[in-house]
């Protein structure tokens, strides 16, 4: 029977429980699905409250301005009203500077998405992505004193160390690689393996050490997250631009033939099974995940003319994709390549090798997103090419004709229903999770 009520769960989420209570509760979380669900719900609620609106509907300044009496406060009647308000005298100079500033901001806010739509080019693959600080969620609330970042010398791992908040806006993944950071692109570790090993070695000896982790993914948000991981000889600290986000006692390592996980937590020797039940809610941090060590495949043998989407010219457009025989899906409808897709399906049914490129474009008032997936079938296995030669593999291509449209996914389980996949998304229990790769959806009217 569970002794923790929602009252405690909210206090735990706000980090206003003692360290001892916290550790005890986190052990309990591993076995209590009800508590895990409650913690996850509160997290999702706060995420919802904090999220930015898509601003599908936004107000035009002129709509308001045309409906107000601009002369309401003119010098005749306005002065009297103005006198009712206590104002500090402000020099016209300051006001003028301000107008210039605000003007500047207004200009800078011209919607880049709309501008970009004119060409729909592939330059979204540019890695000069903005720096994004992902530590806000973990930041300890103001009610508890915030620990200061321990000063730890770079000890050779990061010779060119620059404070996170001092990194230039134009800092790129390539810069991070040069600086000796541990870099992940998508699910793959692409740089810094040696640095990571040095870091682990030092921490095992109880020596202070620090390392910088950079995650980059080319999805809708172009996430580019940078965190520093510090070890002062006793405790691990995860720090972002806003300072220390969290601290942990242990670093646990899990590995198999296909993955490597390094997880920070306050529980020593927690099993991966226990961890997977509650990884998203327990106070832990996946700091290093090399999910799938994918075997390299020889793409050229199956797809002789293959050009990686990274090598396409910057001005490559949707129209070019259509000309090149790609499957093009715009806002969940085929706009090109439907026949090519059917041919691909036909070949795979006959176990004949086949290849196809799928370009999905989604656009509304605020978002425009382009994803490219290269799909390859060698007669028995499906591959989604991630980087040159490295590919995720799946056994089956599944088609779900649902009421509102069709969904295509790749997975390793032959007879799996859409409901089962959907349930795996809802579940906070990692054991329910199903490994699959979403390919695309077509909506029906």
């Amino acid at each position: 029977m569970c002794n923790y009520d929602s009252e405690f769960i909210i206090r735990y989420r706000d980090s206003v429980v003692s360290q001892e209570e916290k550790e005890k509760f986190e052990l309990h979380l591993l076995d209590c699905e009800t508590c895990r669900r409650k913690v996850a719900l509160d997290k999702k609620l706060i995420d919802f409250l904090k999220s930015e609106n898509s601003a599908t509907y936004s107000l035009n300044k002129s709509q308001v301005m045309s409906n107000i009496d601009l002369n309401k406060y003119d010098s005749g009647k306005g002065n009297l009203m103005a006198k009712l308000v206590k104002w500090k005298s402000i020099s016209i100079k300051v006001a003028a500077v301000l107008v210039v500033c605000i003007g500047g901001i207004a200009l800078a806010q011209i919607n880049p998405v709309r501008e970009g739509l004119k060409t729909i080019s592939l330059n979204i693959l540019d890695k000069r992505s903005r720096l994004y600080d992902n530590t806000s969620e973990d930041i300890i609330p103001a009610s508890t004193p915030k620990p200061s970042i321990p000063v730890i010398s770079s000890n050779g791992i990061l010779p060119n160390y620059v404070d996170l908040d001092k990194l230039p806006e134009s800092y790129t993944v390539d810069d991070a690689k040069k600086d000796g950071c541990v870099v992940f692109e998508g699910l793959f570790l692409t740089s810094g393996e040696t640095e990571w090993e040095s870091f682990l070695e030092m921490t095992q000896k109880g020596q202070p050490a620090k390392i910088r982790l950079v995650h980059y993914s080319e999805n809708a948000d172009f996430d580019f997250n940078i965190i520093d991981l510090l070890f002062d000889g006793k405790t691990y600290y995860v720090a972002g631009k806003k300072g220390i986000a969290n601290q942990y006692k242990y670093i646990n390592h899990y590995s198999s033939e296909t993955y490597d996980y390094y997880v920070l937590s306050n529980i020593k020797d927690i099993s991966l099974e226990q961890l997977s039940k509650s990884f998203d809610i327990i106070n832990c941090s996946f700091i290093y995940t090399n999910h799938y060590r994918m075997p390299k495949i020889d793409i050229k043998s199956i797809w002789p003319n293959y050009t990686s989407c990274h090598e396409l010219p910057e001005d490559y457009t949707i129209e070019d994709a259509k000309r090149d025989g790609c499957v093009v899906i715009e806002n969940f409808s085929f706009t090109s390549g439907e026949t090519e897709w059917e041919d691909f399906l036909e070949l795979t049914k006959k176990c004949i090798s086949a290849t196809i490129r799928i370009v999905s474009y989604y656009q509304n008032d605020t978002i425009s997103e382009l994803t490219i997936k290269d799909l390859l079938f060698d007669g028995s296995t499906y591959y989604v090419i991630q980087k040159d030669g490295i590919a995720e593999q799946y056994k089956y291509l599944k088609h779900y004709p649902l009421e509102n449209g069709d969904k295509y996914i790749l997975c390793d389980i032959k007879d799996i229903s859409w409901d089962e996949i959907f349930h795996s998304l809802l579940s906070s229990d990692l054991r329910n999770h199903i490994r699959y790769k979403y390919i695309f959806s077509i909506n029906r009217e």
């Binding site: 909210i10 601003a55 107000l59 207004a106 989604y362 978002i367 809802l426």
Partner: protein, 184 residues
């Protein structure tokens, strides 16, 4: 926000056009607030417009000892509450950018997990209007407890307590609902 106060003083000194800067600055946050409160997205522009017009017409009443944002959101809270009063059935459409809830998925992929988010939003709408507004003002608009307390003519600790209780209530309700739907 001294910038806001300067703009207000310019408007009150006869420079009506300067109010456009206020609209530009707060437009998105006001629309977001209105939508999160449960106003139909297609009505949100009209409601936001009403908020700004009311603010403009009553600008001479604004007391500069308050943050301008607090004053503006007080108007927004009242306009939304009046709207709900006038509607027999409350509209419960929330347009919220789902991206933040689905980090790691592309926009397209996030469609599959909409159902779960809808549930959270739907349950959020069950809360009292004042409490909903307090939660949005605290977590989204980022107003300090003291400012929120001013809006609702109450004490900061009361706001804190109401926010805490609301989260607790949602936790309990969600848990019950999950158990009945998935018969765990």
């Amino acid at each position: 926000m001294d910038k806001d106060r300067i703009i207000v003083s310019r408007v009150l000194n006869g420079e009506g056009e300067a109010f456009g800067e206020i609209v530009e600055c707060y437009n998105n946050r006001i629309i977001s607030f209105i939508c999160k409160m449960g106003v139909k997205p297609e009505d949100s522009q009209d409601v936001a417009q009403e908020v700004f017009i009311k603010a403009y017409n009553n600008l001479y009443r604004y007391n500069s000892k308050w943050e301008f944002s607090t004053w503006l959101f007080t108007i927004a809270v009242n306009v939304v509450k009046d709207l709900f009063k006038s509607q027999k059935a409350k509209s419960c459409y929330i347009t919220d950018d789902l991206n933040n809830l689905s980090k790691g998925y592309t926009y397209e992929e996030s469609f599959v997990s909409i159902e779960q988010k809808e549930l959270i939003k739907e349950m959020f709408q069950v809360l009292e209007e004042d409490v909903k507004a307090m939660l949005i003002l605290f977590y989204y608009v980022d107003l300090p407890l003291k400012e929120i307390a001013n809006i609702f003519h109450t004490k900061p600790y009361i706001v804190k307590m109401k926010i805490h209780r609301a989260r607790k209530k949602l936790c309990d309700q969600f848990s019950k609902r999950w158990e009945s739907e998935y018969s765990v």
